[in-house]
């Protein structure tokens, strides 16, 4: 009797774990089925090469490039903000700061990532854009610059916390050897510790990029809703994620081509983040054992 119960419980636990596989299969199926129907009406060549995205207008164009450029532009700005600040924080906290300071500051910084993204969107639109307009008067009310900067602030803890963990994992013997050779903390940090922790740091950066690409509310609120193939950060643009939100807010009939565009856009987004996540997982697995 006890054996039957044990077996039954194991099966139940196994089923729970298997749900995660079903979720992945579900995501891939849902996206591909709807996207497949989309591509039976729109050629994949047009999708990848047309420079206009106007599925909601009468003159319909289905080129993903403008949405892609919007996504890349905002993510690039965010990384330009988060990378130098996040890395400096991680090096400072790991190599310079007293232990007590680190223990207090780290969770506080992590609060930055706990704030709901809709709140950041408010901040970008109501505070950052008007502030930047003082410096650049011709900055549009919706733009990728302030959305990107605020998104960068949001992902600082992703870079700083994970990189700091990687730096901390470097054995102290390396530090001591470097100091013993007469190196300063800065020299040890950049010539010994950071190179040794490079795989962990790269993983943190990849995860931050993946987070930026998938970020939705900040760009939906502050970057505008005008798909535009441009690298100009001062004009309104639209990202893949913001487009999905825009369509979802409107009344779009199930099964129509407009409805299917959000799945075509979604699968593009999914492919990019999937590649980045897989890459980071590979790097992590490959180098995890390095110092154990």
């Amino acid at each position: 009797m006890r054996k039957v119960k044990e077996l039954l419980i194991e099966k139940l636990l196994f089923a729970s774990a298997s749900i995660t596989i079903i979720v992945t299969i579900g995501i891939i199926c849902v996206l591909s089925i709807e996207a497949f129907q989309f591509f039976s009406e729109v050629s994949i060549v047009e999708f990848l090469t047309d420079t206009q995205w106007t599925p909601l207008f009468t003159d319909k164009h289905f080129g993903i490039l403008p949405l892609l450029s919007g996504t890349v532009l905002t993510s690039f700005i965010a990384i330009m903000v988060a990378l130098p600040i996040g890395l400096s924080i991680s090096i400072y906290l790991s190599e310079y700061a007293p232990k007590g300071f680190r223990k207090t500051v780290k969770p506080l910084l992590e609060l930055l990532a706990a704030v709901p993204t809709v709140v950041y969107g408010f901040f970008a639109l109501i505070v950052v854009t008007p502030f930047l307009q003082i410096i650049w008067p011709n900055l549009s009310g919706f733009n990728s610059l302030s959305a990107g900067i605020v998104m960068g602030i949001m992902i600082i803890p992703y870079v700083s916390s994970l990189s700091e963990d990687a730096l901390q994992a470097v054995p102290n013997s390396l530090r001591e050897a470097s100091f013993g050779m007469g190196a300063t903390r800065l020299q040890s940090a950049f010539k010994v510790i950071v190179p040794s922790a490079s795989s962990g740091i790269i993983v943190s950066i990849i995860l931050a990029i993946s987070r930026a690409i998938g970020e939705t509310m900040i760009v939906a609120i502050a970057a505008g809703q005008q798909p535009r193939l441009t690298l100009d950060p001062t004009v309104p643009i639209e990202t893949i994620t913001a487009y999905i939100v825009q369509v979802s807010l409107g009344d779009v009939e199930h099964g129509s081509i407009e409805y299917r565009t959000i799945f075509a856009a979604g699968i593009t987004l999914f492919v990019f983040t999937f590649l980045l996540n897989t890459l980071s997982y590979r790097i992590r697995k490959k180098y995890q054992a390095k110092y154990e």
């Binding site: 044990e6 194991e10 636990l13 196994f14 729970s16 774990a17 749900i19 995660t20 979720v23 992945t24 579900g26 995501i27 849902v30 996206l31 709807e34 130098p84 924080i89 090096i91 400072y92 906290l93 310079y96 700061a97 969770p107 506080l108 910084l109 609060l111 930055l112 706990a114 709901p116 993204t117 809709v118 709140v119 408010f122 901040f123 109501i126 803890p157 700083s160 300063t184 903390r185 800065l186 020299q187 993946s210 998938g214 939705t216 509310m217 939906a220 994620t241 999905i244 939100v245 979802s248 807010l249 959000i262 799945f263 979604g266 987004l269 999914f270 983040t273 999937f274 996540n277 997982y281």
Partner: protein, 284 residues
């Protein structure tokens, strides 16, 4: 100045740069909360919490959105908590080191990185259309449950890993079966860690906007949901809706609602940290 002095100077300079960067992060956080408090605190009173949404900004309240958020929170907990913990226990205690376990692990790590809006598309197609749940609280909760499942699983595994193996060995030595050991020893010993992870995951769920918009949650609902099949709105969507309106009064409303949302998020984070510290001290 010789080389050594230059290097020492550079070292000091980087130290101040590092302090500066760390402080910028914290100052931005403070600035940002301060700004929202200034914008919104004057708007918060009892009627703001108990009023239904309205076309007039000064009469609008967050009652329906707040109730929607609470419904979503409760249902998501009921769905994601048992499944996530069960999956975590399986992976940590039962799964053999074979190919399937490796795939499960890669898969969970990947799911944690899937953008939330993709979960919205999954929920829209599977729960709203195929299972015909409509844009209901249940459909929204199921969607968010899938979204936070990887976080709950990872937290459960970490918590179980932290339990000393001596506890397990002692239990087996007394003749307990595997499940008895898990149920009576491992789960109670890892409870604090699991609780921390679940609360953090739920605090993420409470702030999620995009997947619920995709699932079809409404910006305007005249009544608070009374059962899982009702239509609903949540606080973040109400905030998003108010931000999108041009009149200044709604911006003030948005700031006030943000204060409430941030309050909920920070309290949940605080409780989580409290449980973690208490649990870590107990384990030592």
């Amino acid at each position: 100045m010789n080389n050594i002095q230059i290097n020492r100077l550079k070292d000091q300079a980087f130290k101040f740069w590092g302090i500066g960067c760390t402080l910028i992060g914290l100052i931005l956080l403070v600035l940002f909360i301060g700004d929202i408090l200034v914008d919104g605190i004057g708007r918060i009173d009892w009627s703001f919490i108990t009023n239904l949404p309205s076309r007039k900004s000064e009469k609008s309240g967050i009652y329906t959105a707040l109730m929607g958020s609470i419904w979503i929170l409760l249902l998501t907990t009921v769905i994601a908590f048992p499944i996530g913990v069960a999956a975590g226990v399986y992976l940590e205690e039962y799964a053999k080191k074979n190919k399937f376990a490796a795939i499960l692990e890669i898969n969970i790590s990947n799911l944690a990185g899937v953008p939330s809006i993709i979960y919205g598309l999954l929920g829209l197609e599977v729960f709203v259309r195929i299972m015909n749940l409509g844009a209901s609280v249940l459909a929204g909760s199921l969607t968010l449950s899938l979204l936070i499942l990887p976080i709950v699983i990872v937290a459960t595994r970490e918590a179980i890993k932290a339990v000393p193996s001596s506890i397990k060995d002692a239990s087996y030595a007394l003749g307990a079966s595997k499940w008895q050991t898990i149920w009576h020893q491992i789960l109670p010993a890892s409870g604090g860690g699991i609780l921390t992870g679940v609360i953090l995951a739920l605090s993420r769920a409470v702030g999620e906007t995009a997947p619920l918009i995709v699932v079809g949650a409404l910006a305007y609902v005249p009544f608070a949901p009374s059962n899982p099949m009702d239509e609903f709105s949540v606080l973040p969507i109400q905030i998003f809706n108010w931000i999108s309106r041009p009149q200044h009064g709604f911006i003030e409303n948005a700031a006030a609602a943000i204060i409430i949302l941030l309050g909920i998020t920070f309290i949940m984070n605080g409780v989580a940290v409290y449980f973690r510290n208490k649990w870590q001290n107990k384990l030592k």
